[in-house]
Amino acid sequence: MLRNIFRNWHSCVPGLVVFSLFVTFAPSLMSQTTGTGALTGRVTDASGGVVANAVVTATSLDAGQTQRATTGTDGTYKLELPPGNYRVKFEAAGFKTVEIPSAMVRGTEMAVLDEKLEVGEQSNGKPTPVPPDNLPNAPSSSSTAPSLSDLGISPEQTQGNAREQALLDKRTHMLKIHQRLGLITTIPMIVSVATSLNAGGKSTSTASRDLHTALGGLTGDLYFMTAYYAIRAPRVPGTETRGPIRFHKIMAWIHGPGMIATPILGIMAFDQKNKGEKVHGIAQAHGPVAIVTAGAFGAALLSVSVKF
């Protein structure tokens, strides 16, 4: 069947390119339509007084990602969240922890969730997240104890940035998927290289070529999904690329074009072989290009996996 599909490779190439572009950009287009919502509110005590420095944690019930914000001096907080359903936890020193099992955030409107905390011990027994310089029972809480301002550290420097944390969370989430997909991609890639020995020689069968082509196609699809999660992972402004990750990125400039050229050359070679011809012309480069591509991919993987 594959033999028939690839018989006229000229007509297949545009389709392959369109499919690759779809695989690469479809998730991106989908994500662009979802938008960003927000959850805001005010945390108060039983008497209606504002509770500053309360930690509000929203955990996505769909993706499992968490975001935190701390209430300001007016007791208000704001979390910018992707639309979805969230479990929201309110924690503050000296108050019972309150957990709201479900709060819906929509992309087009700001969800308001006010909370009233009761005085008491924290219900979960975990250490209380307390902003720096605000611990009543700290070993150095005497009147002479130095403060962060004594060290020349301004309140702005200790201020958390929920937006930057959300960016880092998203980046890590996408790069984890990139890493897993990259690992999975190595399996069909290695098998593709191994089956090439039976696919390109003089006495090869069409079955061997079909198997090699199918594995190559699978490798390509997985590869472009892997690449998507690296390309679309958010950049952190002001970060200079240093260390082994630099080599990892340089290798992408070799295996990236290689993963585009290899299947195109492979289809040409496949077509020539099926016509009973010896592989000739530019199609002869299929094997060497594939080897260089696989080598660069392997080097990229090793550069971030093993310390040299």
């Binding site: 930690v55 935190r68 701390t70 975990k126 250490p127 209380t128 997240p129 307390v130 720096p132 310089d133 611990l135 700290a138 070993p139 150095s140 005497s142 002479t144 104890a145 130095p146 403060s147 962060l148 004594d150 060290l151 020349g152 550290i153 420097q157 200790t158 201020q159 958390g160 940035n161 929920a162 930057e164 944390q165 960016l167 880092l168 969370d169 980046r171 890590t172 790069l175 890493q179 897993r180 690992l183 952190v236 970060t239 200079e240 690329t241 240093r242 260390g243 082994p244 990750i245 990892h248 971030v304 996996s305 093993v306 310390k307």
Partner: protein
Amino acid sequence: MNRKILIAFLFVAIPTFGADSQWVLQQSTLTYHVSHPLHQTDGVSHAAKGKGVCHAGQCDFLIAVPVKSFDSGDSNRDLHMLQVTRGAEFPVVTVRTRLPESAAASATINADLEIQFAGQTAQYKQVPFKLETQGGETHITGTIPATLSDFKMDPPSLLTMPVKNEIPVRVDMIWRQQ
């Protein structure tokens, strides 16, 4: 005569019992160590600031270091570290301890540390440090036996293998008394 003795006594007594003295952190190297089956990684910071204030024989110390200042030699790993430690939300790590003023003369001290990191507070009891005093400067070295679980952090993983829970932090500081 008695008045002269009284004045002389006050000159001797004030520095001994009454006056506050301070310690300032001159230089520091803080190094965290992460173990992974395929990697052994160290992240280093020289950006810590510290101060100690002594009063009535007790010294309160505060050391603060920006989470972002740790450099492991790989920008990608540092960004992952920043994410795992919630360094954007809680940008500064603080260490507080109280020591007797006389500890400066010892060769070793055991300090109770309170560390605020990643929005959590953990206490470490009797952490041993070595002291070497030379020319008004005191060189302190030791290792804080920190773990990821102390700060409610999930161990990050590489190639689906998580790092070890232990992240010991090596401390190398030079303090000067003022």
